[in-house]
Symmetry: C2
Subunit: 202 residues, 2 copies
């Protein structure tokens, strides 16, 4: 046990995800020897993020204002909505520069094992948006794992039922397959199977 | 790029050692969703550690007061000093409960590649303590790697010269060998060689 403040810091750092006791100790000693201005900046950023950041009232992305930067951007097409699990997935897609519609952040994926059901996600808000914003296409970009696929299947069924004959809703799923730069030899069979069944004409 | 405060936090976290951009992002989102009290506790601990913790004026261990808990403890034997590189090494030794003397924290090891020479470590203070505190035994517990061994050799030569005929100084080095619970088969040859040459009569 270290003396008071050092031990407190090690314990506070150790509560962060993926930081074990040894890492917490290393980080604490780093902070102890670092320039005070750097330590203050870190402490201030932690407080600022809790104080200033909230979730977009429309899409649940992180935001400083009532609506996030993407929802405020009038150049984005409101008729296409891309559904993701977390704000970081949204950022990953934004970095591709491929998508010019809006997003909807679910806040997770359906996972009975973790006790997460459809009602724990922002699905009701998505359905409201479908009508209010006259959405004609939804791209399901949940993770390609069991929970993400289950969530995508659930949403696909739900969203198709929203469409009517004179206002159909197109629901699509991002492609699964080999990562660019990958190697057939080292791909697992499920990924390779997906890559094969999802082949496109050239 | 995230909106202001989130990006600031990701950058501040990314400056910590061993925290890459992905980990920084994961930690930032964790802090965003965590109970505000937990985030405040972390921020407060960071500030407290910078404000309240200093280094022991005697042994350079971390301390809240002028002298650290160990140096203040009158039950510890001041005639035996264990030399370590960092405060965390001191804590690791304390956890064994084997040592009842005092410590001296060097603040690193001699490493010409990193530009760390003897003058960059708290060696002069150690020599002063040898005389002032009438030290009769020094245990060198620097790390068993190249820098630690070089530092131990350097200190051994220096400290022996401090001893006189009527007041000799015993200088020892912690043992290198197989870790307890280890396996001969998987030990590297240097460690195994050390274990062999350091064998003890039973």
């Amino acid at each position: 046990m270290y003396e008071g403040p050092v031990q407190d810091l090690i314990e506070a750092l150790g509560r962060l995800p993926g930081i074990g006791p040894k890492s917490a100790q290393r980080l604490a000693f780093h902070l102890l020897t670092v320039d005070p201005a750097d330590a203050e900046r870190l402490a201030a950023s932690i407080l600022a993020v809790k104080e200033k950041v909230r979730f977009c009232s429309r899409c649940w992305n992180v935001s400083e204002l009532e609506e996030c930067r993407i929802c405020r951007d009038t150049r984005r097409d409101p008729s296409v909505v891309c559904v993701v699990e977390e704000p970081r997935d949204l950022m990953a897609l934004e970095r591709t520069g491929e998508f010019r519609g809006r997003y909807h952040v679910l806040g997770g994926a359906i996972s009975p094992i973790d006790g997460v059901g459809p009602d724990d996600l922002h699905i009701k808000d998505l359905l409201t948006r479908m009508v209010d914003e006259d959405v004609s296409e939804v791209v399901l970009a949940t993770n390609p794992n069991i929970e993400g696929e289950a969530t995508a299947s659930y949403l696909a069924r739900l969203l198709r039922s929203v469409g009517t004959a004179d206002h159909p809703v197109r629901v699509s799923r991002i492609a699964s397959g080999l990562p660019v730069g990958g190697d057939l030899e080292y791909a697992d069979e499920v990924t390779l199977g997906r890559a094969f069944s999802g082949r496109r004409d050239l």
